[in-house]
Symmetry: C2
């Protein structure tokens, strides 16, 4: 059992940070906090106007501000993740909530998940149709049901019981997403393929956030409309704890965006955490390995942070919409390959 003993020793060095002590507070020591978010792996279209690019930057900045405000005030990482993702869900430019892509029936089916790194509790919803902010319902799954994933009409029934904000399905629609859908639908009809073709970068898109709060707790969340023209109740990685979302105070928090099937097969988010734990790799090493050695070029990207507040992003797509802030004053907005 040498390995088990070795592991026990290693693990002991990874115990979660404790809340600030009275002595810390007396000395007015500010504990570190950090937040990182993404608006999907992919680059802006080549013909995007400066105004369009600025609107994306503004959307990322608004979401980042929502999350950083929570953390700077001493709020929890779970509250910061939920607040950040709600802003991105409500922004029509990102593929989550309002602005979600169209499925094969011209409607919207939304997926989301959230995870609490202090308990390893998680919650996810798949295929919800009338919930204004799926990330909020995912959090209720985590805290109110004892389950980890609710799907379809059952998730809608739970939303009714929880009295979360509801909207008509059509309210998620935007003209941009409708035009994308018409284009993809025509292509796929021409190809007459049952098997859905590999997604193009502009067909995928997800939003996500990972936060570390002053108490040392990490939380992560992800929300998406899935991929354009998706059929048959397809579920990607975003609602699945360990595939698209993971958080463990002992290691890191992760939110992914990309070809969901690949992130599921490799339990990509959880794999990064496990590599940090079992190989003593840094978050950067573990994320590089999973994105560049296990997944295929172009499969997507991740954002993450570790328990020290070190922020990492890795993507093999031409770009990724992303932003980061922390208690040192960083406030950083990036699009494309910047």
């Amino acid at each position: 059992m040498r390995h088990t003993l070795l592991f026990t020793i290693l693990f002991a060095s990874f115990v979660p940070q404790m809340p600030a002590t009275a002595a810390d507070q007396k000395a007015n020591v500010t504990r570190k906090w950090a937040i990182v978010l993404h608006g999907g792996a992919g680059a802006p279209p080549a013909n995007a106007t400066p105004q369009q690019l600025q609107a994306r930057r503004d959307g990322l900045a608004a979401a980042l501000t929502a999350g950083r405000t929570v953390l700077a005030a001493g709020g929890s990482s779970l509250d910061a993740v939920e607040a950040t993702i709600r802003v991105l869900e409500d922004d029509p430019l990102f593929n989550a909530g309002h602005g979600a892509v169209f499925n094969s029936e011209g409607e919207h089916e939304l997926d989301a998940s959230i995870m609490d790194g202090s308990t390893l509790d998680g919650g996810g919803v798949a295929g919800v149709r009338t919930v204004k902010n799926p990330i909020t319902l995912a959090r209720r799954v985590m805290t109110e049901t004892g389950h980890v994933l609710l799907a379809g009409p059952g998730a809608e029934a739970f939303a009714t019981q929880q009295n979360v904000d509801r909207v008509p399905n059509a309210s998620f629609s935007t003209e941009l997403r409708r035009a994308e859908w018409e284009k993809v639908r025509a292509q796929e009809a021409a190809e007459n393929a049952l098997r859905q073709q590999p997604a193009k970068p502009w067909q995928i898109g997800t939003v996500g956030c990972v936060a570390l709060d002053k108490a040392g707790n990490i939380a992560a969340g992800t929300s998406t409309g899935g991929r354009t023209n998706k059929k048959f109740g397809r579920v990607g990685d975003s609602p699945i704890i360990s595939a698209g979302t993971y958080a463990d105070n002992a290691t890191c928090g992760i939110s992914a965006s990309g070809i969901g099937e690949q992130f599921i097969r490799h339990a990509a988010a959880a794999q990064i955490s496990l590599l940090m734990q079992h190989r003593e790799w840094s978050l950067q090493q573990a994320a590089d390995y999973v994105l560049k050695q296990r997944l295929r070029p172009g499969d997507g990207g991740i954002i993450g942070l570790d328990r020290s507040g070190m922020i990492v992003w890795v993507f093999t797509t031409p770009g990724m919409y992303r932003a980061a802030a922390d208690s040192s004053g960083r406030f950083d907005i990036r699009i494309g390959s910047e």
Copy 2:
């Protein structure tokens, strides 16, 4: 990058076995095969009659025979896994297909997944209601859609397109499961709880199979009716690749049974594979670690086998229904803690 180099060296020693060479065939060398299955983690009720126990043994033996026949004849591990699980789905004594538990509406919602260790392709279905053998539909998801998970009405629409066997939902019902449901429903109503109580051992149940074929390919599959009186479209680990099912020719195949939420949070099946790959642990060491150090006592069990055909089962429940056979002539049926 010392770690990456080290890993590359380790990984090189784990390349999948190649198909038998012409020289092997000429020498009439029989390549090894092996199969292991489970009918759920849990022990028979204390008041079970000898006839009831024998019926369980007979069911396990019939399923094992279906799979071993495929493998002994040189068939693929995927075919063996599907054949084995179909027998268990059709057997009213196991919680999958005919004999599935009742959900909170007195109906049945079935989940299944399958994974091909030679490609890391996988397929799963969640919440299907009229598909006679969900494992067969899961395999079609893997081979025909390019997706990894289909849920609810979409999965039913895919079943229609694939022309798999369909049955009325009520045909999955048995009187035993109805009586269990009535009992649980009364208890949960008395407790008046939104949060579902921790499952009792007899409320959970799953079937699964892992096989290694003569060509050295590993496949794994899992199928279940979920947990008695489940609400809100709850999805457990069984349809989720990496949680309840995993297969990788380089390491092992795994099928799990137990408290699905725990297996999802820990990506339990994939974690066992990753520990073998990254820590050079044996399957037994990796499975013991995940079941006994990461999951909680009583959370459930796994069956698995590695690329050498070594069969392992680990459970922290009072028992597990399970069986194993291999090319050395083993044919082994166990129930409870035997």
